[in-house]
């Protein structure tokens, strides 16, 4: 099979082997996935915090 490489400095997908994904020098998806999950979580916290920064308070009686 002809091998074609995508020349990205950050993300290298080796299509010839079909399983090598190099993310900043990390190849195990369970490891780089942890980094991705961390950044997504920060994005989630920041987005939620920003959207609800002026949210009207629910009535205390609701509890």
């Amino acid at each position: 099979m002809k091998c074609s490489m995508i020349p990205l400095t950050v993300l290298i997908v080796s299509t010839c082997q079909g399983e090598m994904m190099n993310f900043f020098g990390l190849t195990d998806p369970w490891i780089w996935g942890a980094y991705v999950a961390c950044f997504l979580c920060v994005a989630l916290c920041c987005t939620y915090g920003w959207i609800t920064r002026n949210k009207k308070e629910e009535s205390e009686d609701d509890e």
Partner: protein, 549 residues
Amino acid sequence: MSNGISMEIFLPMLAIFLVATIALGWYGYKNTKSNQEYLLGRNKSNSVIIALSYGATFLSASAVIGFGGQAAVHGMSLLWLCFLNLFLGLFVAFVFFGTRTRKIGRKLGASTFADLLGKIYKSNGIRAFTAILIIVMMPIYCAAVLKGGVNSLAVITGLTQYYDLILIGLALIVGIYVIYGGIIAVMYNDALQAGIMFIGMAVILVVTYTTLGGVSAANGSLTNLWDSGLITGAGTLPGFDGWTNFSEFGSNEWLTVVTTFLLGVGIGALTQPQLVVRFMSANDDKTLNKSMIIGSIFMITIVGAAYTVGALSNVYFYNNYGVGAYQYLQNLHLGTDFIIPEFILDIFSTVTFGDIFVSLFLLSLICASISTISALMHTIGSAGGFDLYTLAKSRREKKPFNSQSIRINRICTMIVMVLVVVYCYIMPSDIIAKATSLFMGMTAAALLPTFAHGLYSKKPRKDAAVASIVVGTASYLIWALFINAGSSIFLPICKWITGSKVLFMNSSIMYVDALLIALPLSIITMILVLMLKKAPSKIQDQEAETVSG
């Protein structure tokens, strides 16, 4: 090995820091007029203070030194703990627990975590149990954090011969500002310390990657260390597959990393009494929501940097000394808790203005330690001086009583300070991460279902809460003391009785953390009681219908 830092640089930095700490302690003292202000300090909190205080309290020297050292041994799989800290410890904690805790806490007039649970369930027993759990278990965690700070300070300054003096000095500094300044001094100092920690850890991450040739090159080198068999996974268990690979599923290594380090601390964060108080200190939900922005950026920087740098220290030590981090420290007769301090000292010795950065890092570690210790001391002191004192006096006088005595709180905090120092001397070495996991796991197993039920149920059931607490606590203690090899060292009852460290030696089960067993049991117990036993009010209604019918 480097011979300590430049005292000419570090001492002036430390002096400025101490002056600021004392000034904030004084500010707290001047603004603490009532016991409510001593316990919650609502009038002086805002989103930035809450975010930084929450983050700095959550992430102690235990996270940087203890878990950073564990990352050097077990690798980057610990980054999942960073994710759990962010997702469970911040997002879920604030969105699903924080706002309800704040509202219910304010509605019921609760001042502490034990007080909150006691008032939700209208149970002095639950309040007393929670307070006793805090008083008995939290000093272990507090002592672990204190040891982390002192270890760093002693190694980096090269003053290991003054270990005792540093330990007592650090405890005294924290104790004094907590005793006099209360929660306001604790939170404002947390914010100052968080700022220093943030700068310190960010600098270390950048310097580490720069020294090792960039992000991809450094990570690639770490992968290569294992793949090429250049160094072995010393200090790990069977199933370890290199620092940039997750360990083999179900192996002893996997069980230790996932159940003890990831789940124990990840889930345990939700029921941390010192963090719950931060929610109750907020004036409104908006303050809590806004806190998440700063809190998340702070947390990923501190924890992400610590775990990444910890794992990468292997590359540095191999390049310079031909051995991995664990082996290098073993050669110096030091354990995993010293890996990060030693690495920082060594890597900055080759960098321009390295002394300034090392001093900054050391200061940030001191900050990480004392921000958490102060919050823990305040929480333990409040559990004794407010919760137990209130309950004891109510019982003696046979009428409801709510302690308003700041003095009693201060006396209790002082006793706690002494107790924590004593704990430091009787605790085994290399225990920071495990002690943290033990405390967090124990509180989660005992209190998480009760806390969640109390917050979300319209009519919280005391019988279900008590059953869940009893089963969660008993199962956690039995597993931790008799089955799990990591936690049984704290109180070797199994060895005293059977002569063996744990009941099932040479079995994978000895690597399973108690939380993995105790928390599901605690949840199942609560659900079963809720389903099988009808609420007292319903039974009374049905009896009334039968009588009238």
